[in-house]
Each structure stands twice: as C-alpha cells, then as structure tokens.
Symmetry: C2
Subunit: 518 residues, 2 copies
C-alpha cells in the first residue's frame, strides 16, 4: 500500500533525455524491425539478444565518441562489480563471441535489435535511449563477408520501403587511408594524434566541403559561431594527398572534375550518375604508391566491387567512395555507410540530403580484448530512428492510424449486450471496444471516439434494442462533411443510418473497406 501520507508527491516526469513512445510510434518501429529481421534471417544471420546490463569491464572503453573514451555510460556498483547499460551492440557481441567461442558456429553471423543507452548531454532529437539494429559476421577474414553485408544493407533498405535510386551504399577501406597516410608521412605511433584529426576532418566533408576539410588538415578552422577547431598541422603537400584521396570518388568532386571523368571513361551517364568504379580504383592505386597496406586495401576494394557486381549490385546501389571514413577508431579494413539521397527540408526550410542511416565496417581487434586471439569481424548498425524518420519523410508511413470501432453505451444496464456486439466485431477481426468511461454524457463518448480516431461508432438504446436494430455512425464521413463547403457530394452516403442487428458486422466492414454502402 502507498505510504505517502506525509511525503511530497513524486513528479510524474520522464528522466531527462529519455522519452515515451505511443501507439503508432511503437508499432511502426516494430513492423520495420520485423522486415529488417526477415532480410537478415534470409541471409543466414541468427538472432541474439544479450542483456541490457554488462560489466563495465566487458564493455571496455570503446565508446564511439573518441574524445571522451571514459564517459558516456550509465554505470553503478553492485556486489563490488561495476555494471553498466550497454552503449552499443558491438561490445556485447565481442563479449558473446569470446564467452561462447567453443559453442558458436564459426563464422558466426548474428543480428540483434534493441535499445542502447548513452549518458550524453541530450539535445533536440538526441536521446539517451535509442534503438540499434545490427548484423555482424564474426570469424570471417574474407572481404566476401563485407561485400555480403553491403548487399544485405541495400536489400534491407528496399525491404523497408526505400526505393532503389533513393539510397546509395558507399564503401571505403581504412587500409587505403592508412596507405595514403603512409605516403603523406603520417604513419607511426607518434603521429596518432594527427591521424585522429585527419579522420575526423574527412568525416566532416559533407558538412564543410573540400575547403573546410583542407583548413582542418592545415592550421585549423573557425566555424560560423567563431569557435576555433585546431587543425592537424599538415603541410600543403600532405594535405593535397589527403584531399586527392577523399575526392577520388564522386563525393566532393566538382562539375569540372566529373566532366574529366566522363571524358576519360567514355561513359556519358557519369555526370548524372556516379563515376566508373574501376577509375576510382585506379586513382586510389596511384595514390597509395608503394605502400603495402595501401595496395592491400585497394585490392580488397576491387574484390568487393567484383563480388557485388557479380550479384547484380551496380553503382546505382553500391559505390566505392573514399570520403567515407566512419569516426570509430576500431575499424581496421572496409568501412561502409548507407546514405539516403533524396532531399528533405531542414528546420529552416532549406533543402538538404537526408544523409546517413546506417554504417559499419571491419574490426578485427574487439574479441582479442578478451581472449588474446585476433578474431576477424565485420558488421553494420542501422540507425532505427533515423530510418523511421526517412520513411515518414517519404510518405511511406503515416502518423495517422485508424482507431477502433467504438460501441457506445446509451443504457448502462445493457452492458452485456454491448459487450456481445463488440465480441462479434472482434471475432470478425475488426478492432473494436465498448466505451468504458462514465456513459452519462453521450457527447463525451463521441469526443472519446474522435480522440481515438475511430472510424465508426455503434449506437443502440432502448428503441433500437426493441426493434432489433443498431445505429451506425460513419465518423470519417462525418469529418469530411464537416470540412466540405457543400454536403452535396455526400448526399448518397448518410453519415448515420440504422441497420438490423444481424447486419451490423457486414455494414461496419463495408465502411472500413471504404465502400459507400448505406
């Protein structure tokens, strides 16, 4: 029993940075996740659900935000152990791959979907709990595993309703970048800080453009607000090498360069499409020069491109794009990103590309933390909330969902009869409910139906019961008539009509099916 006699009342609030999801927000996400799971399953991936809680020890310091490796989790001490909520799905996978290494098949393909938690400063659209939906292959060294995930990512986007042409999966390889760094004289432990700045600078190409990136590669850059970001301090020649690398694909190329590519490739569609993959590979090959790791990286990219093209994934769906670097420090080989290419309006009404909805890559060191043995792994994470937002933006799902049929209560002594009606409707697979509030004020019942977005109300009082009839009120039609200047167009379809009790289910279904059937 509540012992709150003298205590102040608790506040009914969601904790800061958290939110509640209602109705369609929940079911639409569930439907989308179920479509994604079906694709993952068809590709041979098995479901895994780890607990939300991990030991802090097992989670490690792998938070994506490389600037604050020690922060970002919700943690507490329990029985002398520090426990924490998982911040992503990759760290728990690494733990599982190590813990069950003798029982799991190898390679182990798994998918997982669920909430993750970040103890970060919340902001607009930035919450402390959000969904991730990941697929990873652990134990496959071959880049065929990376290629497979890129193909699966394309299939997944189409399965949830993003049409071909509205997305592109971009692929790059950290080894190529490492090769380019080597050529630019940025290899070795003592240059780790510079490499970090270079990585983050490239990651901002979308937002800052080539010149912004070049500034960050050199001295640094002040943003519009006047805040100054220190640069990597590269010489102009070093910066040129990096910029050449980043712009070796389509992204970031200006019109003139695209014209040159068209000439070189004899492919007139290139300007409106994307450049020939083999040309990009050739340019990368030139850039890495004699760097061994760089050459290996280019070769891997070539293999990926060939595997994908053999399965029919052309450059309209998956392209090699050196501007993709992905922020995370732990990637060691191929990296990939799915971008939605259609325009939306930003908060100020300006058109901009929707942007990235998924990303991932190869990380060969994560399992090693536990076992000492290197285990090759590659995987992708889909940003569930962003993808849902994209589907909304494309009109693929609407927030307006139909409520239940409401059986109103005119006579509270006949509750059993109303329950019988509603049971009949439900048995006919029609979503329906009896009004369960205080039935005294009938207007409140119709207001409730309106709030629920109910398509139909059933009305029956003493007269109707005596005559074996019910009244059916078409609430959507009522709303349309109320909106319309002239009710003429609706005159053949009455807003409320009487039917015999036996016909109730048939007539309700006719209205739900959109038939003008009185």
């Amino acid at each position: 029993m509540a012992k709150d006699k003298k205590q102040p009342r608790p506040k009914a609030i969601t904790p800061k940075g958290f939110r509640d999801y209602f109705g369609a927000e929940v079911t639409q996400r569930a439907e989308m996740l179920s479509k994604i799971a079906a694709v993952y399953h068809r590709y041979g991936f098995d479901a895994l659900e780890t607990s939300a809680v991990e030991t802090v020890d097992a989670l490690g310091k792998f938070l994506p935000d490389v600037d604050r490796p020690n922060e970002g989790v919700f943690a507490w001490e329990e029985d002398k152990d520090w426990l924490a909520l998982r911040y992503d799905m990759t760290a728990p996978l690494a733990r599982v791959a190590a813990q069950y290494r003798n029982d799991l098949p190898s390679p182990y393909r798994r998918y997982t979907m669920g909430p993750v938690w970040r103890n970060e400063k919340p902001g607009p659209g930035r919450f402390r709990q959000f969904y991730q939906c990941d697929a990873d292959t652990v134990g496959a060294a071959s880049v065929a595993a990376d290629a497979e995930i890129c193909a699966m990512l394309a299939d997944t986007l189409e399965a949830v309703g993003i049409e071909r042409g509205d997305y592109v999966v971009r692929v790059n390889n950290r080894k190529v970048l490492n090769g380019v760094m080597e050529v630019a004289g940025l290899s070795g432990d003592e240059k780790a800080a510079e490499r970090g700045i270079v990585l983050r600078a490239i990651d901002k190409l979308d937002r800052l453009g080539v010149e912004g990136v070049r500034a960050l590669l050199g001295e640094g850059r002040a943003d519009d607000s006047g805040d100054y970001t220190k640069g990597a301090g590269l010489t102009p020649a070093q910066a040129d090498t990096i910029v050449d690398f980043v712009t070796a694909g389509a992204n970031g190329l200006d019109e003139g360069v695209i014209d040159l590519i068209e000439e070189a490739t004899d492919f007139p569609g290139a300007a409106s499409n994307l450049p020939d993959q083999s040309l990009v590979l050739k340019r990368l090959n030139d850039l890495v020069g004699s760097s061994e790791i760089g050459r290996a990286g280019v070769e891997e990219l070539e293999t990926i491109a060939n595997l994908l093209s053999a399965q029919g994934y052309g450059s309209d769906r998956i392209v090699i794009d050196p501007s993709v670097v992905r922020g995370l420090g732990y990637y060691t080989g191929p990296v990939y990103e799915a971008e939605l290419t259609f325009e939306i309006k930003d908060e100020k009404g300006r058109p901009r590309n929707f942007g990235s909805v998924a990303g991932g890559g190869r990380y060969d060191d994560l399992v090693k933390r536990f076992t000492g043995q290197e285990v090759p792994a590659t995987g992708v994470s889909i940003g569930v909330d962003r993808l849902l937002a994209a589907l909304h933006a494309k009109g693929r799902i609407t927030t307006d969902t139909q409520g239940p049929v409401i059986v109103t209560v005119m006579d509270r002594d006949r509750m059993a009869d109303y329950q019988t009606m509603v049971a009949e409707l439900r048995n006919a697979s029609i979503r329906a409910e009896v009004y369960l509030g205080n039935p005294k004020n009938f207007g409140n019942q119709l207001k409730y139906a309106d709030k629920r977005n109910s398509p139909v109300a059933i009305i029956a009082g003493g007269d109707e019961f005596e005559a074996g009839k019910v009244q059916i009120k078409d609430l959507y039609l009522g709303a349309k008539i109320a909106e319309s200047a002239s009710a003429d167009e609706w005159k053949d379809r009455p807003q409320q009509f009487e039917v015999s009790r036996d016909e109730m289910v048939t007539k309700v279904r006719a209205i739900l099916n959109g038939q003008a059937d009185g």
Copy 2:
C-alpha cells in the same frame, strides 16, 4: 583502438543473474509477443513504450515483494537525481497516466511489452532481467473493464496456442475478501499485519493445501526443512471463516463437497468440471454477511460473470475462484489469474500442474501518488517466459529450427560465382549463405553446416562449373540414413546428386518442401 597493453584482460561473462538468448529463443518470443499484441490491438488497446530508466521517485516503493519494499531495483545517482531500471510495467504506466493526463484518451487502454529488471538474488530459472507483457485500462471504474481483460486473456492464450481446456482464468474480488476479514473481526489499521499474513497464506493454498493454510492462519507452520513461519494468530472460528471463503470455489474442495455441489446444482458435469458460478456467488454472499464492502464485491463478481457469459465465456474458460488473492498489496477490487491446467513433470519427474502464467487486477491508487486524484485502473501482466515454457512443454514450438542452405566453397577464386548462387536462392526467398570461413578444409564446411542445422549444401568445383552443373547434398536425409540400420528405404532418394545449374533453385526448394525429388 584497444589500449590493453598492460591491463589484465576483461572476463567475457554475463553479469550474475543475467543471460543471453540465442536464435530461436529470440525469434519464438518475438513471434509470441506479436500474436499477443494482435489480440490486444483488436481489443482497442494502444501500444506504449516507456524508457527502461525512471526516476526512483516516480517508481515508488511498489515492488511486488511486500516483505522488502525498499530493495529490488538497480539504481544509481545521475546529476543529483536517483535513476533506476523499471521493475515492472505498472509503475511506469502510473507515471505516464499522470504525466499525459490532459492528452491521453480516457479511458486509456494501453499494452506494453519489454524487459523489466529486478535486483534480487538470482536462482535457477530466476533472472534479473525478464520480459513482461501488460495490458491495462486506466480511467474506467466499471468492472466491465475487468471482465474485458479476463476475456482478452482467454483469447490471448488461445491465440498463442494454448487450447481451450488447457487453461482457466480464475477471478476473485479483494472486496469480498475484505468483507470476509470484517466478518472475522480483522478490519481496521491495527490488524494490517494480520491481514498481510492471511493474504500470503491464502496465496499458498496451491502448495500447502487447506491444512497448511489453516496452520498459517493460526499459530504458524514448520515446513519440510524445519523452517518455521509465524502464523496470523487467528482463533479457530476466525480461521474457519477464512477457509470457508477460500474453498467456496472449486479449488481446494474435496470430493465429498463436490458431490454435494453436484446434488445442489443438478449439474452432473460439476465433479469433472467446475462448480456452478451462481452457487459460488451464493456461498460468498452468505460469508460476507452484512459487510457493505463484501456485498459490493460479490455484486461486482456477479456482474463480471454475467458480462462474460453474455459473450460466451463459460466456466470452461473463466471461473470465479475465491482462492485467488494475488500477493500485491495494491489491488483494490477484482483480481484474476490465468492458470494452465495440464500436467508437466517437475524436476524430480513428479507430475504437477503447470500453474499460473498471468495475473492482474484492479488498483485504484497508483496514479493518485502523483496527482492526488484517484484514478481507477485495472490490468494484467503475462509472464512471457513461463508462457513460452508452457508452449514448449505442449510441443507447440520446438527448439530445433532449420538453418540456412550452405553454398560451400571449393575454389576460393570463384567466390563471385558462389555469391551469385546464394543471391539466386535468397531472391527465391530461400534462407541461404556462402561459407565465409577458411575454405581450405572442406570437412570443416560440412561440420559448419551441421552445426547450423542446414538442410542442404550446394557443392561446385572446377568440374561442375565447366559442365554447368552443381551438386546438391540433402543433409537431413544424410542424417536419417546415418541413423537408420538399413539404407534400403532411402535408395530411391539419393543423398547427393548433380543437377544443371539452372535447376538449382527448383531442386533445393523441392528438398525443403520435403519432396523426394532427385
């Protein structure tokens, strides 16, 4: 990058009391939850997903374990607030109902499903994170809301695969119990402790039988291990009143009493079935005597029984049973419980009833904590893991699920060809994958297929490619032949055969469909 040079390796372990769920464990639960959600939705309930994290303040001290109201949650301090993982779905609902009271429809019917966390001592089959699946109606004072949830519970059990006759929903009313307590002289604040003991004693009827309960109502009782539980200290007359109440339904009645009931009701099926509801109501009416609250409770039970019988829910599905009290202190009216009535073997091989899989009731005080206003509410919680276990016990779902078709790799230079094969299979909606491990040892590939429980392996090397053929290996058949003493019965259906490349998809599908088609 991992900076674990000098640090000891972290242990790859699930935190104590937590566990991981693999493959079918995840998908079967998801399927079951989706069937439950469909029933809830048809009844007009809307989905709600609150965050896993709440303020400790909002959660309150409502932990079901009444003996330890202050313990049981995982909590930590954050920005001077104490936060905790939710321990059930009712406390967050009360918070939501208060927080959004001006925006939500009233009555508000909502369902929710997801994990909850308990900081309790883990035991066999008892974990610190588990699923709950709740449906509640907030703002409906009418017991029609309770009746509706009982009907929905019966529908839900049948929807997930529990057959009619294998379950029963038992309904009782706390008001009747309170009336009986009044008659027995146990009302008033100063008797709260005794009432608590009585409640817990009744809850143990199943386990201890009538004499065990009577002992707990009186002096107390020593269990088999010698542990002594102090009783409520009631006089024999007081205890008789309580025992009469508890045994007023079918549960706990001995054969002789059932015979008497049969005579009284002229209903020969009663002994093998359940007693006439009106007789139970009459006995309860006698027991509560002139107690006002007791009479109100009996009347509510009568209304519930009438509403349910009007919708066709007879005593084969939903019965009034005074032995159901539900442990939680916060219930204020009708309480209900779904029990599975079929027998299973316990850990020692003894037959016993499967028992309870869901329960709930009316709680009118929870929202009041926040707003000061009493808000009537009623709801049910399904124990997802127990229900899944029941479906396994009934053979409704199996743990053995089919793995993907495996395209083996004979020649690693032909990876693009293997990927093309697998893409064809997937495009035909056949779950399939290329072997992505090191292909050098072909035996490992077949071992992998075995571990994945793959039905079919595709094999193609240089010869096959040259001839435009593939080898198809029927792995299930192979397993059957290996088990069988004589291979004669399989002689018409070869375990491995060659088909032309064009026919691959058709032939694989034939095997998956169980056709003996070579």
